[in-house]
Amino acid sequence: MIRFTVRTLLKNRVLWAWPGIFILFVGAIAVWGGISPAPSSSSYLIELGDIDLPAGMIINQIVSMVILITIIGMPTHFAESLKPERASLLLSKPISRTEFFFSDIAGVSIIYILYAAISVILLALLTIVHGILFPFQHVIALLIFLPLTLIAYYITIILFIILTNSYLGGVLLGYFLTGFSALFINVEQFMKMVKLFGLEDTYAVTIFKIAGYFIPSAAAFQQIMQDMFNSGLSSIDLSLFGYAFATCLPFLLLSYYLLQKKQF
């Protein structure tokens, strides 16, 4: 089943935009820009015309684009697989719903890691050509934290696809709700802001804090990734990492439960 998912995803042309964006970026910098070592860190600078910009800043922008494209492109196969016309073909084989669900997550993760690895190789080629070793923290950020960010989005999206039976409903609700998770990693700041408007309700604050543990925190993974781009491996906030993992579990388990109950 994992092979089936991977095969289907490799045929998804929308997802080709991910390595495509990195190819375009690397090609553009190779032709019109340049790379130079950063004076005070192990990272590098990207030269765009007369301006030198930190690599982390540029890659963060590219990663945001990749996240958006992947959110749109990745869940199509899951929505298709849940249609009775496809599900009856798949689940009439000796495949349990448990296998179906977790193989899909595994297949999607493999594709995320594969495309992330292609991105790393392209960026590494670009820096090596300019005599700079590609920073290790960028490898970890792209290979681990970019896929984790995307999986956090994917978990919310598949829950809403199961609930709404609609690809569009799943993607829109998943995108907005997971995007909302950014508020929860800065609860204190958000509350201070709310108080400025004269709103202060302890129940609302408590509910808000609890809700933060129920929505997969893609923002937390993305925050860690950005910190790594900017400040290296030492910037990893382990408590934020643990929180991000914990927030993925409720929706993941709820999706699994609902799929067990679903009839085709």
């Binding site: 089936f4 289907t8 009856s88 073909l89 689940l91 009439s92 349990s96 009839q263």
Partner: protein, 245 residues
């Protein structure tokens, strides 16, 4: 016994009093048999097949498939199913689709290639490299049937398998099924509303109406009493009272 169903029921609640109940007291399919379930549209044929394969959950009752509880995935290890409505990935070629789906049953690519060539020859298929989205209804149905017969199974469940096929294609596929039955003693459960499709082939027929099996008979009994499957079917379903038409 390949399949045994006892006291299975399923209710679909719809708005108002328009709910549908499926109640099957007893149905069994012995090894090597060719069984048909016949009935008008909406009588519960496809629902019954989906319950057998655990795609729909029965409210109560027992189903034994290949000697196991039908809920276990192992029960489906030697079962192949062709649903009436199916959806294969459109950007796959026929060959890629056949590989992708048969690999779900742990066949090796080499075995699948040999079987694809055998089936392509038996089913007169010369469009293995054509994309699924570019196939006509008949081509698509033939490709779906190839998918069903690609793995070496013991029990084939076919829901309206001849939809959209012309007479030549239908005969080629029936000939293949006969040869498979003779060589490997496979069992077939088929639903159809085209009576001529199964007139010569079936061992046993079940008639289903409004979710209930209203009659069952062996082919020899039907021949003796009614002469043909069509006469048998019409005898049970044709309304004699113009007011009920």
């Amino acid at each position: 016994m390949i399949l045994q169903i006892d006291n299975v029921s399923k209710t679909f609640k719809r708005s108002g009093d328009n709910s549908f109940h499926l109640d099957i007291d007893h149905l069994e399919i012995p090894e090597g048999s060719f069984t048909a379930v016949l009935g008008p549209n909406g009588s519960g044929k496809s629902t019954l097949l989906k319950i057998i394969l655990n795609l729909l959950y029965a409210d109560s009752g027992n189903i034994s498939l290949m000697g196991r509880n039908h809920k276990q995935k192992e029960a489906r290890a030697k079962v192949s199913y062709l649903p009436e409505n199916y959806s294969f990935p459109e950007n796959y070629t026929v060959k890629e689709m056949l590989h992708a789906f048969s690999e779900l049953k742990e066949s090796t690519p080499g075995q699948i290639d040999r079987k694809i060539n055998k089936l392509a020859s038996a089913f007169n298929v010369n469009y293995l490299n054509k994309k699924m989205k570019n196939l006509s209804k008949g081509m698509s149905q033939t490709a779906a049937l190839m998918h069903t017969f690609l793995t070496d199974d013991q029990f084939y469940i076919l829901d309206e398998p001849f939809n959209g096929l012309d007479a030549v294609q239908k005969k080629a596929i029936m000939d293949y099924i006969f040869s498979l039955q003779q060589e490997h003693n496979i069992s077939i459960l088929i639903t159809t509303h085209i009576l001529s499709d199964i007139d010569k082939t079936c061992d046993t027929l079940y008639l289903i109406k409004n979710g209930h099996i209203i009659n069952s008979a062996s082919k020899s009994d039907i021949k003796e009493e009614f002469g043909s499957v069509e006469a048998y079917y019409l005898n049970h379903f044709e309304s004699k009272d113009p007011a009920t038409l």
